[in-house]
């Protein structure tokens, strides 16, 4: 399954899957599925997106933060974030929600 990130997904809220656990070690996110089978290490930008996936931020808001933090243009940030999020969705690590998730 290859998720295709769409323009309308920018208005959705990024939520971590409950089937994964994660740790931040030296600002880098490490993620493991609850079946314990595979450990994913995310790069710096991936880790930044990960930390923002709290169900309260839309993808658009996350992209704006990426632009500020990494000094990239909006188009590049949207494309890169979209590709990255699509991969995380394929691995079942994150989901997109129409509405914010109350913690």
């Amino acid at each position: 399954m290859n998720y295709q990130f769409q323009k309308e997904d920018l208005d959705k809220y990024l939520v971590l899957s409950e089937d994964h656990v994660w740790r931040m070690i030296d600002d880098k996110a490490f993620v493991v599925a609850v079946d314990g089978r595979k450990l994913h290490g995310l790069n710096k930008m991936g880790s930044f997106i990960w930390k923002s996936a709290d169900g309260r931020h839309t993808v658009k808001a996350i992209v704006e933060k990426i632009c500020e933090r990494y000094e990239v243009d909006k188009e590049t940030a949207e494309r890169d974030a979209g590709e990255f999020i699509a991969k995380l969705i394929d691995k079942g690590i994150v989901n997109l929600s129409e509405n914010p998730i109350e913690s």
Binding site: R23, I25, F30, V32, V34, G36
Partner: protein
Amino acid sequence: MERNIPLTVLFELTNRCNLSCKHCYRFPEKREELSYREICAFLDELQEMGTFYLVFTGGEALVRSDFFQIAEYARKKGFLLILMTNGTLITDEEADKIAALKFLELEISLLGATPTTHDSITKVPGSFAKTIRAIELLKARNLQVRTKTTLMSLNVSEYQAITSLAERLEVPSKIRPWVVPRRDGSREPLKYQLSLDDMRLHLRNDLEIGCLLEVDEAHSGPMICNAGRVLCAISPYGDLFPCVLIPLKLGNLRKDSFAKIWKSPNNELRRIRSVTKSDLKTCSVCDVASFCNRCPGVAYMETGDLMAPSPSACQLAKWRADLKAGNAGNV
């Protein structure tokens, strides 16, 4: 691994047990066990340190009346949970709770293929039936279950039957011939250790030999093992050890934070982290080294020296070497 992130922590929640296994290395201590609040605080620390896998054990962890409260807290903090248990306290109710908490793996102690053998080792009549029931209940809930058997003189004659039983129950089995001295130094359990005669008499065919020829992944690299690097153990009283089998106390979590003990290692921890197999003077030149499954913790408990040859490992390695050479001992 280079950063010594304690990915796996073995947490002994209690020293108490409802069984009295003859070979057990446990001995009762007159100290106050960690409370629920203390355990939760330590779990918070472990989460900060990067720990992923929490292995709950004891004694028998389910003897604690707050076991499921602890497990629930751990699950909420995002740990991957593994339970080592004798299974005797698991009924439908406990199995449901274990399933709801999505335990990654359950390791159940199976000490014989028959009630006679198993119960004679645990010294509790009826324990075998309860253990088998636990395996069935957990399997019925699609949980990952494995049996763990300490192979010793008391059950070696049932080696084949134990592996067959695990197959019938449709669970993998882990069989290891590691009987170690008690933690108070008593060598009493060692009288049950497999002898060469035991091996010659009972372990003959490829199936039996094959299992004992496996080298544990933890012992297969250049370092002596993962203890004190990506693995550690916490006692029911908050003592921190490099591993449950290496009783060299690194500190106590009631006095110092985990981070302080782990990141500012004492001399002992520094040594454990730096030792490689080539530093083992005797073992590094041993001609049966490739057949050896030496555990530094077992070596320490047998000899008092982390770096010394482990007599039980030496015996087993020589036996494996003989088998490979086709010189299987004559009875």
